[in-house]
């Protein structure tokens, strides 16, 4: 078989601190007549020494160039991490984000001199509201988890305003992301975990039994983390609303329905988007993200401060008396918002619906290619992702072994062991930006691994073999943590 994973040349690279040589410099600053800091500041305010490396420009460039070759990235190849939506990150986004007219704008600049960015933000609020079917959208949250924090904060403030402070519980299905319960706790809510039914979905009857006047809301991911759309969504949201509670939508899986259906139309009251998933902004090896939050009409006044509005033909910031307050400095990760704006301009109304369609097509194609070789615990119709389990892997080969064997074949592993309701979960989300031949060869690699697990399990248990390191010891790392370089740590 011909997989993209072949060996390549990797160069050894020490830490910055080992590369450091006393007296080297990597910067170029104008001449400045020296003056002693003690002449200006009292001694007790002056630091004694500064332990940073000393490197030339060449040292720094080689260091990071070599380190970069140890990473897999979306620009290398297929990155089927379920629930992470690793779609291609358009290059034009980066070019625009680096235009100095945007990047060199100070957040305290007079607003009349910042109209370009404000207009971009205003249009982004409007476009995201239209896409989700909401009355308004805030761009403040810095990432998905902060979006959740904000969404739940809005719910909390809504009930506070109504005098229903006894509503202290949030219902969360057992298939949910870990951020859902963590964000609930951060808002002082008690979490009620709701067991999914035998189809991996919300059981409406069970939900109705749990609902009462102490429940503030439910957090739903739709399609859920199994890739299964909650077909009873209208019944679910009605039941929640009838009980006086609200519905929070986790937009992590928005890519499945982008331009096809709208959370607002489903009765979802508040939802966070992930611009670094659905809207093509790069993950950056772990951020920055952005987690805008859309809300229905009755929740608009509780949005965090500030909000971009249009007044007398000028874009400006407004605050609300009932706002949940401020949730970070300034106005969100504006540079991320800008990239997503560029992506939406390119998609336009003509192509946006094709995102969801192609993402769902690709996921179902992978499922069709692999369903005879891997078990699916919850065999329901799925949309943008599919979750297999480890039950058909023989000879004690685990999901983690399969993940590592995929690395040798040139693919980033899928999300593994999540959702936690599936044993040895293998969660695959291909996104719309992958070609058929990529999906075909990935499927062949998966099947090859399943066969090797039968005939030559050692080859899978020893994977990966083509990477510079293999299977780090995470137990040692956690037991005696080494969290910074010290010369004796080698």
């Amino acid at each position: 078989m011909s997989y993209p994973g072949i060996t390549d040349l990797k160069l050894k690279e020490e830490t910055l601190f080992e590369r450091s040589r006393p007296g080297r410099i990597g910067y170029s600053l104008p001449k400045d007549d020296t003056e002693n800091v003690e002449d200006v500041l009292p001694e007790e305010l002056v630091r004694k020494d500064l332990d940073l490396p000393e490197l030339s420009e060449v040292d720094v460039v080689r260091h990071y160039t070599r380190l970069s070759t140890y990473n897999f990235s979306i620009d290398h190849g297929f990155y089927p991490l379920g629930s992470c939506t690793m779609k291609y990150n358009p290059k034009i986004n980066e070019v625009i984000a680096r235009m100095s007219s945007f990047s060199n704008l100070h957040p305290e600049a007079p607003l009349e001199d910042a109209q370009g960015t404000l207009r971009m933000m205003y249009e982004m609020q409007e476009m995201l509201s239209e896409i989700g079917g909401f009355a308004a959208t805030t761009l403040n949250p810095s990432a998905g988890a902060q979006g959740e924090y904000v969404g739940l904060g809005i719910i909390r403030n809504y009930f506070k305003k109504r005098g229903e402070t006894q509503r202290k519980k949030i219902i969360i299905p057992d298939s949910a992301h870990g951020t859902n319960p963590a964000s609930s706790a951060l808002n002082g809510f008690e979490v009620i975990v709701m067991k999914s039914n035998e189809k991996g979905k919300v059981c409406v009857d069970r939900l109705k039994e749990i609902l009462n006047d102490e429940v503030a809301g439910i957090m739903l991911t739709n399609p859920n983390t199994l890739g299964v759309f909650e077909s009873d969504i209208l019944e679910i949201t009605k039941a929640v609303h009838d009980a006086g509670a609200l519905v929070y939508g986790d937009g992590a899986n928005m890519n499945a329905i982008l331009g096809v259906a709208r959370p607002g139309d489903m009765g979802i009251d508040v939802l966070h988007y992930n611009l670094h998933k659905t809207f093509s902004t790069p993950h950056g090896g772990g951020g920055p993200g952005a987690g805008p939050v859309g809300v229905c009409e009755k929740l608009v006044k509780f949005l965090p401060d500030p909000f971009v509005a249009m007044k007398d033909g000028q874009y400006t910031f407004v605050n609300s008396d009932s706002s949940m307050g401020r949730i970070r400095s300034f106005y969100g990760n504006v540079g991320v918002t800008l990239r997503a704006y560029v992506y939406l301009l390119e998609l336009g109304k003509e192509h946006i619906g094709k995102v969801g369609e192609n993402a769902v097509l690709n996921a179902n194609y992978i499922k069709a290619c692999l369903k005879d070789h891997f078990n699916i615990q919850y065999d329901e119709d799925t949309l943008h992702e599919v979750v297999f389990d480890d039950s058909r892997l023989p000879n004690h080969v685990t999901t983690m072994d399969l993940a590592k064997a995929l690395i040798d074949r040139g693919y980033h592993p899928p999300t593994v062991y999540f959702p936690i309701i599936v044993h040895g979960a293998i969660m695959i989300e291909p996104t719309e930006t992958e070609s058929k031949e990529t999906l075909d060869s990935f499927a062949e690699a998966m099947i090859d691994i399943a066969k090797k697990a039968q005939t030559d399990p050692e080859s899978i248990l020893n994977a990966p073999l083509k990477t510079a390191i293999s299977r780090p010891d995470e137990t040692i790392a956690a037991r005696k943590p080494i969290l910074k370089y010290c010369p004796e740590s080698d």
Binding site: L234, G325, A468
Partner: protein, 452 residues
């Protein structure tokens, strides 16, 4: 559409393999009344050339991006070596995911490990995490952490001289966890927290937060604040919003901080209207298991090779769910990478040199303003690269008049502080040449009623 590679022919083949006749069939689980039957009300798709033209037009409305500016207040314009952005553009860094699979993420993991090391050294603190969203949320998470550690002590003391956004963010985050948030008021003469205010810190205090240099640019009596907190067994939490200041200023570690947080944008990142920046979070060794956010640790692989992994995940939301130390998942990884590249390049001597340039320019500007204009330096406390002046009349008017001359002269304190109509907060960095400072003073003198 260039981001969709599936051709019509392939689509037909794929649908056949799946066993349905159209893509719409795949959406069968979605109730038909929810399926959009018309296009969304969005702009028409634009080509690359049209997008660039559109963005250039929008950019032209950002007049402030071209004007000499003396605004700081939490976001600063600094020199950034060219290599940083060139390296950040390597796809391997910016298009990779959180490093969950260590074998294919050693680049990110080693970069973050080195970042943790350099931030830890810069702060003089034993441990740094892999980043938070920004300075304000890092401060808020520090308070939440302190409240968990302090258990029954539920009062939070904040210096009123902290960045107002940080104070507001902390208030939002602690609503359910603190009994009260108390502000330690400012001394109008020094611009620091009033000495008499320290007596208000009582044994119910979980933590005391203060920013240095503070929002008005003044360097607080950090040792006195730390001692006052320690006397009541409250956690000492300094906040550094302008982190290049640590090139010369005494470190959080030196003053005995338990937790120290900050905003790292000043380490060569673009301003971008306030974000993305970089939340910095450090703490003492004994508190590390209570810390929010990701941590990279060193370990060995099965062949004994030294390598790096995400570690102490048992604190985090994907393991502990509602019992996690924080809900943070995606952080500011690429900004941490950027800061690491900046610190590696500036190194031991460069960061100190930059800090000295900032200090000297600010001292020069202060002196010239006093000598050549009718404005006064408002506070007599020491400063780094930012200070507050008192203008004759209204600072807002001065801002407007200087704006008409093409200079953004600072942040009127009135924007956040009632009654401070005549206070203007002025920042200068190494990006200003002495000529720029002279011309600033010349214009300021003119609009505030002429030279003395």
């Amino acid at each position: 559409m260039r981001y969709f590679p599936i051709t019509d022919k392939e689509r037909t083949e794929m649908l056949e393999k799946i066993g349905v006749s159209s893509v719409k069939d795949l959406f069968k689980p979605v109730p038909s009344e929810l399926m959009l039957d018309e296009e969304l009300d969005l702009p028409e798709a634009k080509s690359e050339m049209e997008i660039i033209k559109h963005m250039e037009e929008l950019g032209m409305e950002n007049l402030a991006s071209e004007m000499p500016s003396f605004q700081g207040g939490g976001i600063y314009r600094h020199y950034c070596p060219s290599l940083v952005d060139q390296l950040l553009l390597r796809s391997e860094f910016y298009t990779s995911y959180t490093p969950y699979q260590p074998e294919v993420s050693q680049g990110t993991l080693q970069t973050i490990f080195e970042f943790q090391t350099m931030i830890s050294n810069l702060f003089g603190m034993p441990v740094s995490n892999a980043s938070m969203y920004d300075g304000a949320t890092a401060a808020a998470e520090a308070v939440l952490m302190a409240l968990k550690i302090a258990r029954k002590k539920k009062k939070v003391f904040l210096a009123a001289t902290m960045h107002p956004h940080y104070i507001e963010t902390i208030k939002t985050y602690v609503e359910f966890f603190a009994d009260s948030v108390e502000l330690l008021e400012m001394d109008d003469k020094t611009g620091k927290v009033k000495e008499s205010e320290l007596a208000r810190i009582d044994d119910q205090a979980a933590c005391v937060l203060f920013q240095y240099p503070n929002y008005f640019g003044v360097i607080e009596d950090v040792h006195a604040l730390a001692n006052a907190a320690r006397d009541k067994k409250a956690l000492v939490i300094p906040v550094i919003a302008e982190v290049t200041s640590l090139g010369i200023l005494t470190t959080p570690g030196d003053i005995g901080a338990d937790i120290a947080v900050g905003e790292g944008q000043a380490l060569g990142m673009p301003m971008h209207f306030g974000g993305p920046g970089l939340g910095l979070f450090t703490c003492s060794d004994k508190l590390v298991r209570k810390m929010p956010g990701r941590l990279v640790g060193q370990t060995v692989d099965r062949n004994g090779n030294s390598c790096y992994v995400l570690t102490l995940a048992a604190r985090e939301q994907h393991i502990k769910r509602e019992k996690a130390t924080s809900n943070i998942c995606t952080n500011q990884g690429l900004m941490a990478t950027s800061a690491a590249m900046y610190l590696a390049t500036m190194g031991k001597s460069g960061l100190k040199k930059v800090a000295m340039m900032n200090l000297k320019r600010a001292e020069y500007l202060k002196k010239k303003i006093v000598e050549d204009t009718a404005c006064k330096i408002r506070f007599d406390g020491p400063t780094y690269n930012e200070f507050t002046i008192t203008v004759p009349g209204s600072a807002k008017d001065v801002l407007e008049e200087m704006r008409a001359e093409g200079v953004i002269c600072g942040i009127p304190a009135l924007r956040y502080f009632d009654g401070m109509d005549d206070a203007l907060i002025v920042n200068t960095t190494e990006m200003h040449e002495y000529d720029d400072l002279d011309s600033y003073v010349e214009i300021l003198g003119r609009v505030t009623g002429g030279a003395k």
